[in-house]
Symmetry: C2
Subunit: 333 residues, 2 copies
């Protein structure tokens, strides 16, 4: 199972293919990191060869040609029908055919979710895939799941989000016996919409380390290692968090300027780092047959490199086997 | 209609009755502010008289005795049945009986919503009251509604949230022709759960200044003056925002300390002020027959004073009349 290949969608992302190819080169140029043989670049062959040329030659990547590109704002359903040879679908097919264990894309998130779900299929027993993001606000990893794959979560979907997030936290992030919290409007079990009350019941009788309902502010506390949410609220808070850090730190910098106080890099730099998702790579699409990492469209080469390492480590940890094994133990259907 | 009284629940809040009574005194001691005759203190008469004594005597407040107190974590339904003489319900009854135009409470939010909805009744045509909070992240007021009254919003509820938020923004916050956005997971009309797609349709054909779907990060942009959300997501993001500011600014202060950089008050102070909801008073419960302001349990006397002024200004602006008038124009049922 180890040392399987990772298919990298080289055409997705705001700065593709340049930043993507550069990230792949960075990922294999550091000591103790991935070998070039583990990476398949997927995209326009001529464009990729030209980028590699600019970077001093191909360090040993396999290149898989894909003639089409799905734009960031394109409708996934239309793209699935109209662009069968797009780089995301081709990357997914490499996983489907066993030529790769996982795929990484910085492209259109909805398209990655659609192509992965349709081409790879869901894990047995999982009805809806979910996007997990690891954040490190308190200095320790915390997994929030779902960040936007499934906006209409059922109680069972929420239970499965908890299971998949737990397996990710323990299998890839070194969290022992993860504590799982359900993001809700109050701590009492009877709080929230009906589907959350039912999810609370399912989670309470599961074998997960369920700590009960948690609230919005607990994302910055250490009350849980895994935060269960639906894809609607998860997506809203993810985008809010992304903007808020930059917004607030800019305010601080401006206020310092106005007060005539010099803020050296050592002040805001470490704060930015703690808030930076790229430190943990990208988001993991959980619940599909394969390892799928979705990076931010704005990813720079460092984020691409981290996402590749994350995909390799998730594939090597075989967390999908654990999710399937956990489904019966967790009390899910 | 002007110069009606405001009933102040003097027993609700972490530091009640002390901070509440102090806030009332502050509200009437500044030039051009409320007169003492406009405020009715509701709560334990002996306790309130003793607090006023400590502050140099009663400046002219009416006191309405209420023998019971609802605790912050108490179940509202149980309190409604078991504590009929609680200060929140008594304040609501003063409004019901026409002895006051509005009420202010820093107490149990669920209890204020329940007592106001049951005792005052809903405005004709409004099915579910909603909590509106004005934030000022970008330096201009933005109204987010609903922050937690109704966790299961229907498309019609979401439309009404937009209408009520608009009336609040224009009537009390000086926003002309408010732009209304629907908080969703993407800009396209077909994004999000079914109820949001339907709400998008209702809003598009309404007379509101609807600018379409907006995303989580737009809370820090100027794309909309009114942000429509359901009470579930709204509550999660409100609590998240509350914690995030403090969390991040503490991180900045610590990082500065570690780097040996002195941060004078003038740097973080103005940032904190912009993030401080108390500048706009408390949250407004919209959709009930009366003016209801809900403050944070941690409110200090300044926040209480602001909430009183906010209630007086909302009552004087007669926004409920405008909401009723707007219901037919807006295309609501």
């Amino acid at each position: 199972m180890t040392d399987g290949k990772i298919a990298l969608d080289a055409m997705g992302g705001d700065d593709a293919p340049r930043a993507i190819v550069r990230g792949a080169v960075e990922a294999v140029s550091l000591e103790g990191s991935l070998t070039a043989e583990r990476i398949i670049l997927v995209g326009n062959q001529a464009a990729l060869e030209s980028e590699l040329e600019d970077l001093g030659g191909n360090p040993g990547f396999e290149i898989q040609h894909a003639s089409q590109v799905v734009e960031m704002a394109e409708d996934p359903r239309r793209a699935m029908r109209g662009k069968p040879d797009n780089s995301i679908s081709i990357a997914a097919k490499l996983v489907k055919e066993g030529r790769a264990l996982g795929l990484v894309s910085m492209g259109n998130t909805g398209m990655v979710v659609a192509a992965s779900t349709l081409l790879l299929g869901r894990l047995e027993g999982i009805r809806m895939p979910a996007i997990a993001v690891a954040v490190g606000f308190t200095g320790k990893p915390m997994v929030i799941v779902d960040m936007g794959a499934n906006v209409d979560a059922t109680p069972e979907n929420l239970l499965h989000n908890g299971l998949m997030g737990s397996v990710y936290a323990s299998g890839c992030l070194g969290v022992e016996e993860p504590r799982v919290g359900l993001l809700n409007v109050g701590e009492e079990p009877e709080k929230g919409p009906q589907r959350f009350k039912e999810a609370h019941g399912l989670l309470s009788s599961s074998s997960l380390g369920f700590v009960g309902n948690i609230e919005g502010g607990d994302v910055f506390s250490s009350r849980a290692d895994v935060v269960i949410t639906d894809g609607f609220t998860g997506n809203v808070i993810l985008k809010l968090l992304e903007q808020f850090s930059g917004f607030l730190l800019e305010k601080v910098a401006r206020s310092a300027g106005a007060a005539g106080v010099e803020l050296p890099r050592e002040v805001l730099g470490p704060v930015m780092r703690d808030l930076d998702y790229a430190a943990y790579g990208g988001a993991l699409l959980l619940g599909v047959s394969g390892t799928v990492v979705i990076g931010h469209g704005r990813s720079d080469s460092r984020a691409v490199s981290n996402a590749l390492k994350q995909a390799a480590s998730a594939a090597d940890a075989a967390i999908n086997d654990e999710i399937i094994a956990g489904l019966s133990n967790a009390g899910g259907s």
